[in-house]
């Protein structure tokens, strides 16, 4: 009797979806590194300057492929900004939107995916100079990318995303200052390469 019940449980999904084999959720990983590209405009109107900024970024997305096109999970990374090392911890979604050319369906070796990460950037790994206190903030990062390789294999990925990272810094006071505080919003384009499986 027990054997029969056990068999039914295993067979139940088959009955539920008719003759089509159900999609089985699997673990998925997407690990990338690259650069954060941006610029900054600063100073007073009379002494304004603009500098370009490039910083390193690395992240790993670990999640569950819930549907053939949809994966959800979490992303942990490290962003090396010039004066802050921020560790974003995000809730993440990956969604395959289409293949670039329907004529190459059979190859299934180039797919486009979108991504959305949002969470909080922590400063666990950041070392502040004496008198400074840097704290993290909200981060949001929508993006788009290519998966190169067959779905059954490990894929090579290229991605382009926008990243908005908030942070704050308390600064040491010079002799006639009473309070000094900096609010930062890093707005960057991130170009990354990596592997996914």
């Amino acid at each position: 009797m027990n054997k029969l019940l056990f068999s039914l449980v295993w067979l139940a999904p088959l009955f539920a979806t008719g003759q089509t084999a159900p999609f089985k959720p699997v673990f998925t990983n997407m690990t990338e590194f690259g650069g954060l590209f941006g610029q900054v405009r600063y100073g007073t109107p009379f002494t304004e300057s603009v500098d370009k900024r490039v910083n390193l970024t690395a992240q790993t997305f670990n999640g569950v492929q819930l549907r053939p096109r949809l994966a959800v999970g979490g992303t942990v990374g490290v962003d090396w900004y010039n004066t802050a090392m921020i560790t974003p911890v995000c809730a993440s979604v990956r969604y395959d939107i289409s293949r670039p050319s329907p004529t190459r369906d059979t190859q299934k070796n180039l797919r486009i995916f979108t991504s959305l990460d949002t969470g909080w950037g922590f400063t666990w790994l950041n070392e502040d100079p004496s008198g400074y206190k840097t704290s993290g903030g909200w981060v949001v990062s929508p993006g788009i990318g290519f998966r190169i390789g067959k779905p059954t294999n490990t894929n090579f990925i290229l991605s382009l995303s926008y990243k908005r990272q908030e942070a704050n810094a308390e600064k040491p006071l010079s002799w006639n200052e009473l309070a000094k505080h900096e609010t930062r919003v890093y707005n960057r384009m991130a170009f990354r390469i990596g592997l996914a499986f």
Binding site: F37, G38, Q39, V40, R41, Y42, G43, T44, S49, D51, R53, Y81, N82, T83, A84, I97, S98, I112, T114, D128, P129, S130, G131, Y132, T134, P142, G143, I144, L160, S161, Y162, R164, A169, K171, P172, L173, S174, W175, N176, E177, L178, A179, K180, H181, E182, T183, R184, V185, Y186, N187, R188, M189
Partner: protein, 429 residues
């Protein structure tokens, strides 16, 4: 548009408009505006006024159930504190250029820029000027702004402080080296705290009864003398006739003098680089015994028996990079010896009512310690919900001044302070 192209377009737009870091620094600082005052104007500016709220409280001093709170550069708040649960302001004594005070019997000594003024406070609601030692202090500082007297022109040059808040765009690179610009304001004493040296309020058996000042005070009373320290020297006043102080010797102390307090027949003088110990066996002529050197930081001091407690802190006007409590053995006054250092967060004023040690940690609150063993000072309580600059422990009642007010606590149980009252501070910034 095909839906699939939507994210691409969105990214494109963002890349055009949104890839610029936005960093803004907001800072509040003091701006100094030069002003010139006539000595006559200053001397005629002394008067009793209606009570007013605390704005920039400086020293606190207590005697005979009354609390005296300096309003920096403006005067002194007189507060009836016989019931610490309900302190009652009774008057505001306007004294132009006031920053310090000391009380013997019923005479209040206060500086007024260049003068030392004596007030009769038999009736604290109606203080009365009884004498004045003119032009005895040549220069000084308030909140980093310097003043100096020009005897020829009978004018005084001062700097009025304004508070400015401004926001500028920065390059998001705020983690660079600090810009320490001297330490000119370390010696502006803002709050006092009690040390073991302070005479008890109820010193009725003594021929003279002094009030309670503390480890950050610049005025100290001992024997027949009032000692006042400036940035580099100590001015003595003979107060044998309390109502008529007489200027006496001026002793050079060296650079960066911050505080003074007498303990037994010794004077402990805190400076930005160390603690000087002076032998005061002859109160008319103190003699330097030794100096305990430390890093260049601000350093309020409290003493009990043969142990001196020194808090070192960095930040604002203090320079240095040290935040700690040093416990120093002063059994041998000629060679003080560090017993142990305890790490602190940002210690400011401190007070001791042995075995209870109270340390203000600035924005980190107030800590109480059991200091029975100098080598094992134990933390009992940490109040984090308040900002604390300085303390005066007063036989069971703790006065704590912070950014937002003057608190009074019952410390009968030092591990569980009970708040009795709070006098709010309305800061101008």
């Amino acid at each position: 548009m095909k839906p699939n192209l939507l994210p691409l377009c969105l990214l494109f737009v963002l890349s055009l408009t949104g890839c610029t870091d936005q960093c803004k620094e907001t800072r509040t600082y003091r701006r100094y505006v030069p002003v010139t005052l006539s000595l006559r104007e200053i001397r005629e500016g002394v008067r009793t006024e209606e009570v007013r709220p605390l704005e920039k409280p400086g020293k606190i001093y207590t005697k005979g159930g009354y609390l005296f709170i300096n309003e920096l550069k403006e005067g002194i708040h007189l507060i009836d504190n016989r019931n610490p649960s309900a302190p009652r302001p009774v008057a505001f004594l306007r004294i132009p250029g006031n920053g310090d005070m000391a009380i013997r019997n019923n005479i209040l000594y206060a500086d007024s820029y260049m003068d030392l003024v004596a007030f009769d406070i038999s009736n604290p609601a109606q203080p009365r000027e009884v004498s004045r030692v003119q032009s005895v202090f040549p220069s000084g500082q308030f909140e980093g702004g310097s003043w100096s007297i020009n005897p020829q022109s009978v004018m005084l040059s001062d700097q009025r402080v304004e508070y400015v808040t401004e926001t500028i765009k920065t390059d998001c690179e705020g983690g660079g080296a600090s810009q320490w610009v001297g330490c000119p304001n370390c010696d502006v004493v803002r709050f006092s705290s009690q040390s073991g040296s302070a005479a008890p309020i109820a010193a009725s058996t003594a021929p003279n009864s002094n009030g309670t000042a503390g480890s950050m005070a610049r005025f100290a009373l001992y024997s027949d003398f009032l000692y006042t320290v400036g940035q580099t020297d100590m001015q003595l006043f003979n107060v044998q006739d309390a109502a008529n102080p007489v200027a006496q010797a001026r002793i050079n102390l060296g650079w960066g003098i911050e505080t003074i307090f007498p303990y037994k027949d010794k004077l402990f003088i805190g400076s930005q680089t160390g603690m000087h110990i002076y032998d005061n066996a002859n109160p008319a002529s103190p003699v330097r015994l030794s100096t305990f050197q430390h890093a260049r930081v601000c350093d309020p001091v409290a003493v009990h028996d043969n142990i001196a407690y020194v808090t070192l802190r960095n930040g604002t006007q203090c320079g240095g990079f040290t935040n700690q409590l040093d416990v120093i053995d002063i059994t041998s006054l000629t060679s003080p010896r560090l017993l142990r250092s305890y790490p602190m967060q940002n210690p400011h004023g401190l007070g001791i009512d042995f075995p209870n040690l109270f340390i203000c940690e600035g924005e980190f609150g107030l800590k109480t310690f059991d200091a029975r063993s100098a080598l094992a000072v134990k933390q009992l309580q940490h109040l984090t919900s308040m900002h604390a600059y300085d303390v005066i422990p007063l036989t069971g009642t703790l006065l704590v001044i912070g950014r937002d007010g003057l608190y009074q606590f019952d410390y009968t149980n030092p591990g569980q302070l009970t708040q009795l009252s709070k006098i709010p501070v309305n800061r101008p910034y």
